[in-house]
Structures are given as structure tokens and as C-alpha cells.
Symmetry: C4
Subunit: 227 residues, 4 copies
């Protein structure tokens, strides 16, 4: 457990420096190894304290219950049900990231699913769908609806809101988030040149997920001098 | 009074570092506690001195009269009537910001009102209208027309010019300005993907204004190391 | 003469740091006070030396003749005829800048004249036309054609190439170049929102040119710590 | 041989700092002077080591055979066939760069060939075509197809993937890559203003390739303090 908390904090610090939390909202979690307050490890609720996501440490990662219940004295984000409801439906998911960016919010707002085309987009195939609700996912029912819309996908966008990215590990989620931003930037510029959406396709023989995860994770930490 | 002047100066320094005054024009004011030259506190008129908005201090915040009259020896911006005419019509407004940015000028130029969709956009609901005049608001009559067009909204854009943002406090105005830029960026990218304008809607159960104001204000100061 | 050379060098260093010469091509000149090699002061031809426009000094500003002839041992840009032919036709012009930017090249490429709408755009009114030739202006005839297309305007764009900005002083030209980039950015974003071109209009009672020139010039130097 | 390896490393470090490898994928090669493992000099395969392309040295440039075979103990990128198949068909090509950028991927994704219009675009004339395959070029057959699609062009884009740039020297390839990004940015912004594609045209009397190569190469190294 402590190790995973440490890895979440490392990922959050690096993603913050990469610009994923330009305004200081968003959170990441990992599936915990135990029951009760060890079921889910998640960034605690950040109030207006004088530090930001770029400075979180393992001490800011707290344990909550699988149904989102808060142990006494703990305060997790209102949108923690994004995380708990996905873990309930996706046994392959061990990490969940929720963040806001101009690109993810815009694709959601436009109702345009992303069909990944780039080499790195292989890790997001076959499609990143758009949820039908862009408000706060702050109840079990809203979390469940989001998890259903996500299905077996690696990520989903929320209209005018942001994205949720899932993966087998913290590293995989961080890599998929980098790949998602990269894919969306290419697709937006291509749309400005008149490119039309294309049908989803199965994966090919491009870089393996393991290689992409590994290279992008180490790149992210090296670039921002985070360890 | 001195406290408010200090808060205005802090906000201006931080917003300048955030890029709100990329070219050195714009101003902020707060409703003063008194009469006459204590009616409105506003950034003095900056000429071509060798310092910019990122360096203003409380000493640069001067008092003017409620009708925009200047006490002897003081020089406020020609557009001070934006501030005075809003204070005359909006008892809830205790702070007014006028700034220029590519996004606010472009939405004004395109005649496109912003219907906030993002979670942070809650603090701008239901709509950010567009004024019908993009020139200098340098007379009481022009200020009055702008204030009428603003109505009860949190902000308004001016064609090819910029925006005016109002709020109950300096902190609220700074937070709303950050939320406005964020919303406009999402809406512009969505428009590039073909998203059409949608009708205005009432607020939902997203983040409360108090929370957004508090988090964004502390974020802004922390990010730019301004106190 | 030495003073003007110094001012040109200061402007070039500051504009370079502002990003006007992201790729190291472009030049600025001023009308000289004399005849022969004192007729026009211009940035010498930069080869591949190990310094760039951000480091030019007054020693890099050389004198050439009014018809573009080079005194022995001097080497000015092939496009010096932009400058000489404008000075021959515009007695009000004492400074000329030629630079390349994505925005100016794109508006030229699209054949879209800029009708300035922003408050700072007052200094570019009524219109920034587009030349019908985007190649190198490297002969007296090509310089003359450009000067004719410029007419009495403050600036002109060249298709897929860049812009030429003129003014009564080095400071005015620098200020107009900043205003031009600002106007073009607003107009491009507005176009992405569907704004249509509008007819040119005469100037209004916005900021005076003298004020804009003065504020923007000091801003530019202060921002980049150039003196 | 050692000299060319050093030059490749210098170019890669500088291009990395310029943003050509924002995500750490891409490679450059030069035609070697000999046979067997001295036939092609290429960046070795970078795994997830804790250093990136901005830090490569001549020791990271390895020799492989003309058909892409790897000498014992060496590991080159799976896409090395881009390089080998181009050298087999283009006796004028002594250097090949493969990189990914939003602009190159977007033009490829949109199926839009670049007809260079800018002055620097002279070095890319008459046209930068689009390949019909955007996947990994990780076999001799795929390399051959790409080389055939490239033909005699200076560069080619790959759909949603990136670009391949060739030239007579490392310096020429680096200069052409800078010119390519510059041209694409202008063309994208012009497209946003409604500019339509134009037919390819032969070169004109603009800057000579030798001058552009020389100026841009020295600019690139100076800007990033790379030697």
C-alpha cells in the first residue's frame, strides 16, 4: 500500500508539471490491496491550501472504502464515485485518473468520440467514447452511469468537462493520458484541415503497450525531474 | 480601504503574470467604503513608466468619486466609467475587472455569447453576453450602456476588445476571470470541431462559488508567488 | 545618425526576444539624415554567424544609398528595396520593418486584408492590405510594386511570407508591429467562430497613436530587459 | 565516420530542444562511408533509459548494414527500414530524419499534401506528399513502399504519424525540418481563414538552399546552446 501511494503522488506531481492540472482540480486513485479503508487509495480532497497538485506527497493519498464511504476524519473528492464504480466493474483496472484539459473537454463538448490514429494511440484503441453527462459525477448512480459508458475502453471524455483514464497500473494510466492528449491534438488540427471522422479499427502491430507505458512513464518523470 | 487597495494590487500582479495584460492595458477597481474620493478604488492611469501591471502596489490604487470625477492631482483610466456605472446599478458588485485577451475579444468580435458548460463555468451562469459596442467606454453614457448590457451577468465581452468581469469581492472577480478564459478556450476548440451553440441553462449542483473562488484565488497567488 | 542606429538595434533585440524573428530572417531600417551612404540605415546582411538578431548592436546597422546601392565593403539584405522604395514614396515614413510570422504569412496566404477592430488596431486603420506577390522583394521593381500596394497604409502582408510595417519613428513601427500581431490573433480566433470580414472604417476616439506608441515601446523594452 | 556520428548527435540534441521529440520517439541516420556495419549510421534503439534524445552523444549512434541487418549486440529502431530503403533509392540522400509532430501528423491525417509557399519553403519544393500508410514502417517492404512514395521529394508526411525528411547532409535535413514545420503552421492558419490548396510550382529565385541550410543550422545550434 505505501508503495502505491508513493507512485500515485509521483504521477500526480509529474502530470501537474506537464500541465494536466492547469487549474487545480482533478484526482487519481489506485485499487488498494485490502478491504474497508484499504480498498481504494485516492488523493484527498484539496481545499484552498497553499500547495497544489504539483507538490502532493504520499501523505496526501488516503484510503477509502470500495463504495466511496469515508473513514472518520478523511475527506475525499465529491467525484470519488468515478473511481469506485469503475473498480467495481473493471477487474483489469487498478488505477483511475480524472483530469480536465481543453482538448478533452472540447471533444466531449462536440460529442466527438476519438478514434485513435497515431502510433501511440494504439494504447487507446479501438475508441475513446463520449459520456452523455458533463456535470459533477458526485453520486454512486452518476459514477455507475459513467462506468457503464466507459465499458471496456481505456478512456472516456465528459462534455465540456474532461476525461477519465483507466489502466492496469499507475504507469499505464499516465502513459495513456499522454497518448490521449497527443492524439486529440493531432485530430483537432486535422479537423481544421477538413479531415472527417473515421471508423474505429482494431489494434495493429505498432509499439506494444508495455513499451509505450515504460518509455512514456520514464520520459514524464525525467522531463519534470520527479522521482 | 488600505486592505482593499492591497488586495487589488495583489490580484493585478498575479493576473498580469498569468497573462491577462500581455499588452499593458486594463484595470481593476473595488467599491470603496466611503463617499467622494473614497467611493471607488481603482488602478491609476499608467502612462509609459518603466514598470508594468505585474509590479503595481497598493500605492498605485487611487480613490475617485462615484461619478468618475477625479480628485485634484489624480489620473484614472479614461474607461473608469465602466466601473462607476456598474457600481451604480449592481449593489452586489464590489469589484470590477476590465482586461483584453485574444479569446474575449474574439468571442465579442464574432458576436457569440458564451453559454458556460464546464464545471468551473458554473460561476458564470447562465450566460456571458456580448456588448454591441467595442470602442473605448470613456464617458458616463458609454459606461451606462455597458452596465445595462451586462445586466445581472457575471461578465460580458466587448467586440474585438476584451471583457468586463464583476463580483462580490476581488477574489471572486479573479476566480471568475480564470473560469472565463478556461470556458472560452474549451468552447473555441469545440467550435473548431463543429460544436454548435447551446441554450443557456440554470446552475447545477457543481462546485459552489465559494469553493471555486477560494481554490482559484489561492492557486493564482501560489502559482505566481504573489502575496 | 548614431542615435538612430542605436534605436534600431534596441528595437531589433527586443522584437527578436518577443518572437518576431523565430527563424532568423527579417530586417529594419530608418531614413538617414544625409545623402549617399547616409541615406538609409539598415541592418547589415546576416550570414550564418554565431549570433542572431537578438544580439545585434549599432555596429550592425550600416548606411546604404537611397537607391539601394551598397557602398564598398558593405552587404545589406537582398530585400533592401522594400525599404528604399517605400522611403521614395512615403515622406512620412522614417522607419520600415520587414518580418515573418505565422499570422502575417497566413493572412497574406489567404488573401485576407485585415480590417483592424481592436482598440490598439486604431494605429493600423483603416486597413492592412495584402500584396499580390509573396516572393523575395529583391529588385527595385519589386520594391516599387510593394510600395505602390502599400499606398498610405501603416502595414501590408505578403502571401505566405510576412509583413512590412512603416511609421514615423522606430518606436511607432515597433508599436504598430505589436498591434498588428494582436489584431491578427483576435481576427483569426474570431474567424474560427464564424466571424465574417467587415468593411474598413475610419479611426475613432480610442487611444491616440502617441499614447499607444509610447506605452507599447516602453512595455516591449521593459518586458525583455532591453535598453 | 566518427565525425558524422557526432553531427547526428548534435542535430538530435538541438532538434529535441526545439520540440521535435516532445514525446521521446524518432530517429536520424546518415549514410556511412563503408560496407557492412559501416553502411548506415543511426541512433540506437532507445528503451526507457533515464536519458532522452536531448542528451544523446556520438556513442549512441551505431552502425548497421545497408539492408537493415543488425550487427551482433546492436539494437536499432524497428523503423530503421525507412532509412535503409531511402538510401537504396536516393543516391543524393546522405541523411534521413523521422520525427512526429502535431502538424506533420495532422496534414498526413487530412491527406493534404503541402505545397510550400513561404520563402523558406523553397527548400521543400515542389511538394511534400502524403504517404498512404500511417502505421509502423518496420519491414523492408514497408520501407520500400515509403521510399517509392517519397520519390524525389525532400520530405513526406505519414497519416496521423509524422514525417520523413531527407537531404544531402545532416545540416540540410535539420534546416528542411525547421522549414517544414514553419510552412505547415502558415498553411494551417491560412486554412482556418479559408485558404484553398494551390497547385505545386517550381522553385523561384528566393534564398538558395545553401544559404537557408547554413543560416538555419547555425541558428538551431545557437538557440539551444548545442555544439
Amino acid at each position: 500500500l505505501p508503495d502505491n501511494a508513493e507512485t500515485i503522488a509521483v504521477a500526480l506531481r509529474a502530470l501537474a508539471r506537464e500541465g494536466f492540472f492547469a487549474l487545480p482540480f482533478g484526482h487519481m486513485s489506485a485499487r488498494g490491496a485490502g478491504q474497508g479503508s484499504e480498498a481504494v487509495l485516492i488523493l484527498r480532497h484539496l481545499h484552498s491550501e497553499s500547495f497544489g497538485i504539483e507538490d502532493v506527497t504520499a501523505a496526501d493519498i488516503i484510503g477509502i472504502e470500495a463504495d466511496g464511504s469515508l473513514p472518520p476524519g478523511r475527506d475525499a473528492p465529491g467525484e470519488r464515485y468515478i473511481h469506485t464504480e469503475i473498480y467495481a466493474r473493471r477487474p483489469d483496472a487498478n488505477c483511475v485518473l480524472h483530469y480536465h484539459s481543453t482538448l478533452t473537454a472540447a471533444f466531449g463538448r462536440a460529442g466527438r468520440a476519438l478514434v485513435p490514429q497515431t502510433p501511440l494511440g494504439e494504447v487507446l484503441k479501438p475508441v475513446v467514447p463520449v459520456h452523455d453527462f458533463g456535470g459533477q459525477v458526485n453520486s454512486p448512480a452518476r459514477g455507475a452511469a459513467l462506468a457503464e459508458a466507459l465499458g471496456q475502453a481505456a478512456a472516456i471524455t465528459l462534455p465540456a468537462h474532461g476525461a477519465v483514464v483507466v489502466g492496469a497500473s499507475v504507469q499505464e494510466v499516465a502513459a495513456r493520458a499522454l497518448a490521449l492528449e497527443d492524439c486529440l491534438a493531432v485530430e483537432l488540427a486535422a479537423a481544421q484541415l477538413g479531415a472527417q471522422p473515421v471508423p474505429a479499427q482494431p489494434g495493429t502491430d505498432a509499439h506494444t503497450s508495455a513499451e509505450v507505458n515504460d518509455v512514456l512513464w520514464h520520459h514524464l518523470l525525467r522531463k519534470h525531474s520527479v522521482r
